[in-house]
């Protein structure tokens, strides 16, 4: 029972990280229908930037954290402006190939700068974050993942539901010509969705880096897991991305705990195949509103 609870908690907190990372992916897809194949590298960029600022530059953790967020957010704008905006109006496949190229380029750059070894952050999470629930002990990093995940999901949930900018972003995803006719700055919306994607990917990259160590290959492979997550939840649903993340997180930890650790990495993709066969729009994909 304790083992079960332990796995449950680990799974949920891991799931929130996947959800957070998938959120950025879904946003880009929603606003511009682009599949971002560089998503895993975005996690790595966030994790390494934080490593650079915290461990190597020796900045206080909070400062390094905030700077990482600001840095990745701005980097999102820059990347959109330099590489993606010139392709607006081109075929979607060209944009998607561009993200593939960007991903490989980012990976190469990170390997060049940081090498292929596993790095780790200095221990900075206070021991007081470790929770003791009866006989179950929850490591501080899982508690942190939980808090960060929930906090950001709530913040973005409110942003999309209530803020004007969030509503404009949803309007572009919904009906681009109409949004354009009302003066919504569509290019700015694209840019903002890239910036947010960079930011949330960095968040989950950092926490995953604390859990698994920071390695370019590993982080970019984890980034690939957004595919099972978003396919499970429905490519265009933010709520679905969250639930998809939690489900995949749970699947992974339970498989790792009860069946075999080597199967752990494969399970999300098995789930992906099954979902595609049974429910191709995902659990929460937009059911097309059609008038009859």
């Amino acid at each position: 029972m304790e083992f079960f609870l332990q796995l449950l908690i680990n799974g949920v907190s891991l799931g929130f990280l996947y959800a957070l990372s998938a959120l950025g992916f879904v946003m880009i897809f929603k606003s511009s229908s682009v599949l971002n194949l560089a998503h895993g590298e975005l996690l790595a960029i966030g994790a390494f930037l934080f490593l650079l600022l915290s461990a190597w530059a020796g900045l206080p953790i909070v400062v390094a954290f905030v700077l990482t967020l600001v840095g990745t957010f701005s980097l999102g704008f820059v990347v959109e402006r330099l590489f993606l905006r010139p392709l607006i109006g081109e075929n979607l496949i060209e944009v998607i190939m561009m993200t593939l190229g960007l991903g490989i380029m980012f990976k190469g750059l990170l390997l060049f700068i940081f090498g292929g070894d596993i790095h780790s952050y200095p221990r900075f999470l206070p021991e007081s974050l470790t929770l003791q629930l009866g006989n179950v002990q929850i490591p501080s990093v899982n508690v942190a993942a939980f808090i960060v995940g929930i906090l950001f999901l709530i913040v973005f949930g409110f942003f999309f539901k209530y803020s004007n900018q969030g509503i404009y972003m949803r309007s572009v995803a919904d009906n681009q010509p109409a949004a354009l006719s009302l003066g919504v700055h569509v290019r700015r919306v694209f840019a903002l969705s890239w910036a947010i994607a960079f930011l949330v990917a960095a968040m989950s990259g950092i926490v995953l880096g604390i859990i698994n160590g920071i390695n370019v290959h590993e982080l970019s492979a984890i980034g690939l897991k957004v595919f099972p997550v978003v396919i499970l939840g429905g490519l265009d649903s933010i709520g679905g991305a969250i639930l998809g993340g939690v489900i995949i997180g749970l699947l992974e930890t339970f498989t790792g705990g009860y069946i075999s650790t080597s199967l752990r990495e494969v399970v999300p993709y098995i789930a992906l195949v099954i979902i595609l066969m049974v429910k191709p729009y995902g659990l929460f994909g937009l059911v097309e509103i059609e008038r009859v």
């Binding site: 404009y168 949803r170 309007s171 919904d174 009906n175 006719s181 509103i289």
Partner: protein
Amino acid sequence: MENHIRLLINNISVVYSDVIQVLKGVSLSVRKGQIVSLLGSNGAGKTTTLKAISGLLKPENGKVTEGSIEYDGKPVQNSSPEEITRMGIIQVLEGRQEFKYLTVEENLKVGTATRWGKPYQQDLKMVYDYFPALLARRKSLAGYCSGGELQMMVIGRGLMAHPKLLLLDEPSLGLAPLLVKEIFQIIRRINQEQGTTLMVVEQNANMALQIAHYGYVMENGKIVLESPAEELRDNPDVKEFYLGTAASGALKSYKDVKSYKRRKRWL
């Protein structure tokens, strides 16, 4: 005289994808505070004319290749829709282009995109005053609203932007006759009470000429007729071709169809 003109289109040609010419030298003007209707059959170029004004040709690979469009004296042809909407020209697209997955009120809020960050509660109230039916539906997804509600919503959404020139593309499309009447009355009220200058593209010539001050008729990418709306209503050709009554005022019989075709080429 000059400064009473809100919009002046001077001999424009519009070409799509560098080869397909849709407008061939269209000229028209819209005076401040007036309602101008643009009539014509399918494919005459009415929507293209509106899109040339609002800058929405660009995403469709269309371009104004000749002539000029002046708005309050400033040339705006081939500007981006972001710039044009911020100058106060808002086009309400044909066929009720709602945001399906946004609620009615969120749809209206998107109308404030040109003046982001400014208060809009007053404007919401104004829209609900003009279209009380929307108030009851404000929390429901637009995708589940009726055609009439959606038409009201998209006009209201345009109003949220404080337009100085509102371009309406076929507001009567697919609506029941009573609803069409109601919507046109509201359009007239908006013009009178808000002082908004309006340009209305319509197939329903009868309705459009009732509320308009001035009218233009388009055929094959050209303006073929123009005059004050009441004169246009009495024009025998317009009566026959667009209002569906013979020059005498009686309903047309089928045997006249041939003459209709012959006459129309004359226009």
